[in-house]
């Protein structure tokens, strides 16, 4: 295998690790995640020491440092991994569902639907609070998934190619309506631009506490569907021959992806490319069995989002960049590398 960007994630890259090395992979990823979260709590416009961070978390003393850490840094250090893991697990499922490795939750139009809902709510109904926008976004993603699902089912079945075509169409439609509305509302544009790029800034802890359970539920459903998803990697005929209830599994995946993406977009706005790129890295590390793929993708996605969030604080210092821009730039580079390798 050639050296490539994905290999930097771990030195344990083997096609199909035995259980011992699988434990090492998970353990390594988990340690990396914890380290990244510690980094996220301590590093930013001001840099705090580890003792300061521990003191703020476990012996709050009301100091400025403690306040910044608990009310600003901690929520994003928790929301970022939830969103990253959620989008990555959704990405694994969508890529298997669509039998297409460049599909992602975006391909189903869920992010575009959430954006459209938020822009409409803001421009037409004057919704301005973060919680209001979050609920609107989740609702937009869910409605979009129902629309894509209904059109696909009505058009004769949930075949992979049909799901992708309908999703991409809905995504394009949603994005163009967003553009039209924003072009006519310059004031809205300023307000919403940051949201539309995805960000973890200024999120209250309640957002993590209300979005978290949906991420966990979506992840649990994905793990329950891991075995049928394995079989769905083969063609429909073969999967049916193995006794996989295709429609039931596809509906289950839709529900899981909607929960994961809806909760993610509610917490952070549309963070792009995580769901597209992370599954590739996960497959590289642990192979194609979904039980493994989902766990690895969740960990890698969480790390990716936390590190992107930390990077977002420094790329245009002292101003914060939207984290969606960071994940998109990094993800774009990785994707081009992947596509070049496949073409070669």
């Amino acid at each position: 295998m050639q050296a490539n960007v994905l290999h930097e994630v771990s030195s344990n890259a083997t096609p199909l690790p035995r259980s011992t090395s699988l434990g090492l992979v998970y353990g390594g990823l988990l340690i990396t995640l914890v380290a990244a979260m510690v980094l996220s709590v301590t590093v930013g416009y001001r840099i705090y020491s580890l003792p300061q961070a521990f003191a703020a978390l476990f012996a709050f003393d009301g100091s400025e440092a403690a306040t910044v850490i608990t009310s600003l840094r901690l929520p994003r250090a928790i929301i970022a991994p939830l969103v990253g893991a959620g989008l990555a697990i959704a990405g694994v499922q969508v890529q298997t569902l669509a039998r297409n490795r460049i599909a992602s939750p975006d391909t189903l139009g869920l992010n575009a639907g959430a954006s459209l809902a938020v822009v409409v709510a803001s421009a037409v109904f004057g919704v301005g609070s973060l919680i209001g926008l979050s609920l609107t976004a989740a609702l937009g993603a869910l409605v979009t998934s129902l629309v894509v699902f209904a059109i696909a089912a009505g058009a004769g079945g949930l075949s992979p190619i049909r799901i992708v075509l309908i999703g991409v169409t809905i995504a394009g439609l949603g994005q163009s309506i967003v553009q039209i509305i924003l072009t006519n509302n310059e004031a809205q544009l300023q307000n919403l631009l940051f949201w539309l790029a995805g960000s973890f800034v200024d999120r209250p802890m309640t957002l993590a506490l209300s979005g978290g359970p949906f991420i966990l539920a979506g992840a649990a459903l994905a793990l329950l569907l891991a075995r049928p998803l394995d079989a769905l990697q083969a063609d429909d005929e073969t999967a049916k021959g193995l006794g996989v209830p295709l429609t039931l599994v596809r509906i289950g995946c839709f529900v899981s992806v909607s929960l994961l993406t809806g909760a993610s977009v509610a917490m952070a706005g549309p963070v792009s490319f995580v769901g597209l790129v992370v599954p590739h890295a996960a497959r590289r590390l642990v192979g194609l069995r979904h039980g493994r793929q989902i766990i690895a993708a969740a960990l890698i996605g969480a790390i990716y989002a936390v590190l992107a969030d930390v990077a977002a604080r420094f790329v245009i210092f002292p101003v914060e960049a939207p984290v969606g821009a960071i994940t998109a730039v990094l993800g774009g580079i990785v994707l081009v590398a992947l596509l070049r390798r496949r073409a070669a």
């Binding site: 096609p15 039998r99 394995d230 079989a231 083969a234 073969t238 021959g241 006794g243 194609l288």
Partner: protein
């Protein structure tokens, strides 16, 4: 045959929309034998095979597995009894051989019943039986066409079904891989005791490997029996619209058809 058939097709009628494909077709698939379905394009042979695996819903008639109507079996139960190698199966290029063969164990597992030692045994037996054990870590994309077909057969073997259906398994293979693949199918039959139902286009390969040969035409069974009885000139002319000469092949003593001209 004193044994009851493994599968009995009883008055099966099947239509796509208004086009009738199978018309009150009846057929017995003998247990532990190789049955080859043959016939001209559009005769319904693949449809019959798929109906036996319940991928098509008949509009009339039934298919009995032992004495049970397959329409009454649950998905998992049916998948433990009848395996299918689809006509052009596909899986991701970066899937490993072992990952693919493991899929064959799907119907034997459930949420409460995860991977067991029995699954491991079946997986290893299937890979060893098809000679792909040494390829287990290889990606499917790196295999030759012949190797790939062996791996797919290993997957169906791992499913440990009494009946194995194969839909034109040698279509895209060259001559040596065709023989290789069909020898392997015969081995599934002789060594692993599977009842085989096979759709084949090549009449001479069909005659060479079949215990029971079935000629289909226009959705009905035109004739069925041992190849020696079916490989006769007027029957071939009637079923395939081809004037042919049938000789006994000097190497194996099986009937060999030499097509002369279309009628």
């Amino acid at each position: 045959m004193t044994d009851s058939p493994a599968i009995a097709v009883d008055g099966l009628t099947l239509a796509y929309g208004n086009t009738s494909v199978l018309d009150t077709l009846s057929l017995a698939i003998p247990r532990g034998k190789i049955t080859v379905l043959a016939g001209p394009n559009g005769c319904g042979k693949s449809t019959l095979l798929r109906a036996i695996r319940r991928l098509h819903k008949p509009s009339a008639g039934r298919i009995l597995l032992e004495t049970t109507d397959i329409a009454k079996l649950g998905e998992r139960m049916l998948a433990r009894q009848i395996g299918l190698l689809a006509q052009s199966p596909s899986a991701p290029e970066d899937m490993t051989v072992e990952e693919l063969v493991r899929l064959g164990r799907y119907p034997h597992q459930s949420m409460l019943q995860p991977w067991s030692p029995d699954d491991t045994r079946a997986l290893e037996t299937a890979m060893a039986g098809t000679g792909v054990t040494h390829l287990r870590e290889r990606h499917l994309g790196s295999l030759s066409g012949g190797q790939l077909q062996r791996v797919w057969i290993a997957m169906v073997l791992a499913q440990e079904t009494e009946v194995v259906c194969l839909d034109e398994p040698v279509n895209h293979l060259d001559m040596s891989h065709q023989l290789d693949c069909l020898d392997l199918v015969r081995q599934l039959n002789s060594q692993f005791g599977r009842t085989i139902v096979l759709v084949l286009h090549d009449l001479n390969l069909a005659a060479r490997y079949a215990d029971q040969l079935v000629f289909l035409r226009d959705g009905v069974v035109a004739a069925s029996g041992p190849p020696e009885e079916l490989m006769v000139e007027d029957l071939i002319a009637r079923v395939f619209d081809v004037d042919a000469m049938v000789i006994t092949d000097p190497a194996y003593g099986r009937p060999l058809c030499i097509p002369l001209r279309t009628r």
